[in-house]
Subunit: 146 residues, 2 copies
Amino acid sequence: MERIEAVAKNLRASGGRMTPARKSVLNALVSARSHVTAEDLMNMVQAESPEVHLSTIYRTLDALENLGVVDHVHLGHGRAVYHLADNAHQHIVCELCSSVEEVPATLFAQLERSLMEGYQFKVRMNHFAVIGTCKSCQAREQKQSG
Amino acid sequence: MERIEAVAKNLRASGGRMTPARKSVLNALVSARSHVTAEDLMNMVQAESPEVHLSTIYRTLDALENLGVVDHVHLGHGRAVYHLADNAHQHIVCELCSSVEEVPATLFAQLERSLMEGYQFKVRMNHFAVIGTCKSCQAREQKQSG
DNA sequence: ATCTTTGCAAACTTTTTGCACCAAT
DNA sequence: ATTGGTGCAAAAAGTTTGCAAAGAT
């Protein structure tokens, strides 16, 4: 995977090293193609390399985050989710079923602008989750209460 | 405080009880007038009633949240912050200095509408924090790197 | 050879829970 | 008198850290 070689280069350029564990984590992130918890990643990685410890996952994620390759979001109930950095989307998270959907970042552009202009606050794209209720859970709620 | 008597009524109506500990927590929330952690509340409450345990604070916050009197937001790095329910504002949180600012909910109205119309996703107002960099931390960053 | 990364176990932080006692209704 | 709440200590859940050994450069 050329993507991984690019990260390796990036890693070495800053005095870091590309190890099998890190390769596995990157592969897992690529194949997941979205929000995964550290534990999810551990399970994926351990399917191939059972010796890789959860703490290594955390340290790898940390290193990759410093490189700008990975980003994380806190969904609200403890665990964080990680994904490859990609500024083109944001997350909407259902507080009932915990499903996560990605929506185009453009939806947030106006809000971003207002916060910058009105409060000199620079929103960190990709690092904020919108909590609410998804379509199907709204339907379920409807049925239960009405 | 009449506000507290209203909550007491509300509490009793649902089979709960108003206790000194709960009164203290409510007082603390009212006097804080914004986002506080459970630990902050514990400190405030213990200034008057040192015997009140942190677990009581959590259980009280939980009870008040079920009543709709209190809401909480996760700021991203672990601890949650609690505040009296009030749908007129949202939080912007600086990821560098952890400062929290409140901004009018109206800024979010358009985003809310887009998510509803485009994704049938019902945003839970008051339960999402926008992460970014505040004015003064932006200035500090500027100085350091430029 | 050097210096980063790893695996492990143990610490840490924030929140939750079990239990016997206490108190609001 | 009930039944819900409290204090305490201990567990849970998620993440971080110290250390000696292993591995990438």
